[in-house]
Symmetry: C2
Subunit: 352 residues, 2 copies
């Protein structure tokens, strides 16, 4: 059976091509009676609009590009994986699709943008892992390509829409929870200074430690590379202090699980003897009973797509070609959408 086209549906419903097209894309333009007749024909012939033909005409592909990472560390990899999963599900519900690509660095990523834009007419991109002076956002903004980032534009004056999870709020909540449980000596086990995400998470702990007048001793603030091994040795050093902390807030589950391992090795019970709270709520944390700060990845993905939707609406009002110079005046530049900063959720388990 040959594929159904607008033409064949039109013949079947005794109307014109354009009316069928309108029934699909602008139902308010077509008479109710005609509408039902057309819709019947559509289902009967099992018609599906042909994506490529539509793209060719409208310059909209309903495709959103997302980079998949070459493999960072265990924790972040899993986070991206879950984010992508949510993104795919949300986009799908909205008639859009996620197209994957890889790149070794930001420069190569920009080159891929070029390919994907002129070759596949991608509508937009979702970036992640933003950092200060990110050339990717500059590249896209300059060319007026719609995009949003999962991750705020650290430092630089971001003129684009972004969605992020408030890391400081997460560690603050963790620390607050520990304070409420009676802890006064709460340490922070994070990454070396200089990583934006790490510094942010550290600041939440530091804020509350100051505000609550906690007993912060030298050695209560460690910064090591992410990993179970490094986390374990750093935790060991804390426990060996003359006055050891009674709780440790960590910048990642890897570090927290390292601390957890060290505790159990010493015969200490996480939670009962020394509290530990991780970050990212990995499945491992769930299994061993490690409290952790969970990022609302599904909400983040939804927010990204909602924002993208708005950007696409305001940017190209009604199929206007990208002829630069003369943008339709009534739409205006409209400025970037309001950023979204989501609060993470503290998942309390046995460890704290």
């Amino acid at each position: 059976m040959a594929r159904a086209t607008l033409e064949s549906v039109a013949r079947h419903a005794a109307v014109s091509r354009q009316t069928v097209s309108n029934a699909l894309n602008a139902p308010h333009l077509v008479h109710p009676d005609t509408l039902t007749r057309v819709r019947a024909a559509i289902t009967e012939l099992n018609y599906r609009p042909h994506h490529a033909a539509r793209t060719l005409r409208t310059r909209r592909s309903q495709l959103v590009g997302a980079r998949i990472e070459p493999w960072r560390d265990g924790v972040n990899g899993a986070v991206l994986d879950r984010f992508l999963q949510s993104l795919t599900a949300r986009a799908q519900a909205d008639g859009q699709r996620i197209l994957l690509f890889t790149a070794d660095d930001d420069e190569q990523e920009c080159a891929h943008y070029e390919d994907l834009l002129s070759g596949l007419d991608l509508d937009a991109f979702v970036l992640h892992g933003t950092h200060a002076d990110d050339r990717r956002t500059a590249w896209l903004a300059q060319r007026r390509v719609p995009f949003v980032t999962f991750g705020r534009p650290w430092g630089s004056t971001g003129t684009h829409g972004w969605v992020d999870v408030d890391g400081a709020e997460g560690t603050r909540a963790a620390t607050r929870h520990l304070v409420a449980a009676g802890h006064r000596r709460i340490a922070f086990l994070g990454w070396p200074e200089g990583s934006e995400v790490g510094d942010d998470r550290r600041s939440g702990w530091a804020d509350l430690a100051l505000a609550a007048g906690l007993e912060v001793r030298p050695g209560y603030d460690a910064g090591v590379a992410d990993g179970l091994g490094t986390g374990r040795t750093a935790a060991a050093a804390m426990l060996d202090l003359e006055v050891a902390p009674t709780a440790i807030v960590c910048a990642s589950d890897s570090l927290a699980l390292g601390a957890w391992t060290e505790l159990t090795a010493r015969g200490l019970r996480p939670g009962a003897d020394v509290a530990v709270i991780g970050f990212d709520d990995s499945t491992t944390a769930a299994v061993v009973g490690l409290s952790s700060v969970a990022q609302p990845l599904d909400d983040a993905a939804a927010a990204c797509l909602r924002m993208l939707h708005d950007v696409l609406e305001t940017d190209r009002p009604r199929g206007v070609r990208g002829d630069d110079a003369d943008r339709s005046p009534e739409a205006g530049p409209a400025g970037p959408p309001d950023p979204v900063l989501l609060s993470p959720r503290l998942v309390v388990r046995a460890s704290g």
Copy 2:
């Protein structure tokens, strides 16, 4: 600057549209001198073929669909993540792109196939997580849609191309390694019988235990749901046996890490006192020093795409429309490509 088209390139090189098209798709048809001239024009105008237009004409989109999982367990999720990453990279190098979609079950997945095929003209699919009587493969095969699976067609007589990793070979290698190290009482900690992948991994251990005449006592073969907690309790039960095993081969890293945790809790050193070997080579395994069987995911992805390439070549010789009935005779049905069964690699670390 308006986008370059075949037309504009043609004018610039003083040839016709079609010659430029040929220079790209069938260089042997065009005169060497003309070729260089056209190529110069292409680079000068920064021309990129327009994907949608080509798809509209040729019915080939260069797009391959892959399903991203709604989140299984930690281990399998990571495996899929790494596989997708490799798949994306390999496809990209070959001029193809990976398009993501999600589905709650096999039936819904088939519905998506329909959408993706007639709407987006997807060229092919890569499936994973195959099982006996998989309706997805039946659906695709019946409609003659090109696809390969990562995972063999368990039980059913698969008439499609597939790539898989030999799980039995992995556990066999692990067991062999332990035998070589002098172990005689080697237990297996796996999943309940009935899961195809789990049974396969168990069989490798069972094979070698028989062949090497190992001392397999009651309780040396456990089957529990995947997870750290379940693994730990199952391992505890083994260690409590009157004659405990000196080594444990596991069906997953989750189980192995559970066993590992139980060992350290008892003051036993993994490797020195009781050997433990996991499966899937997770990052956690790497960090804690757990030996594990690594799946060659990058090779698997490459094999999938190579196979897909072959299927696409033989199936639609030269842009032939899918008019069923009259397939070009010289190509013939050609049958499914030879399956690829990859051997996993045992990564030996401190634990065994």
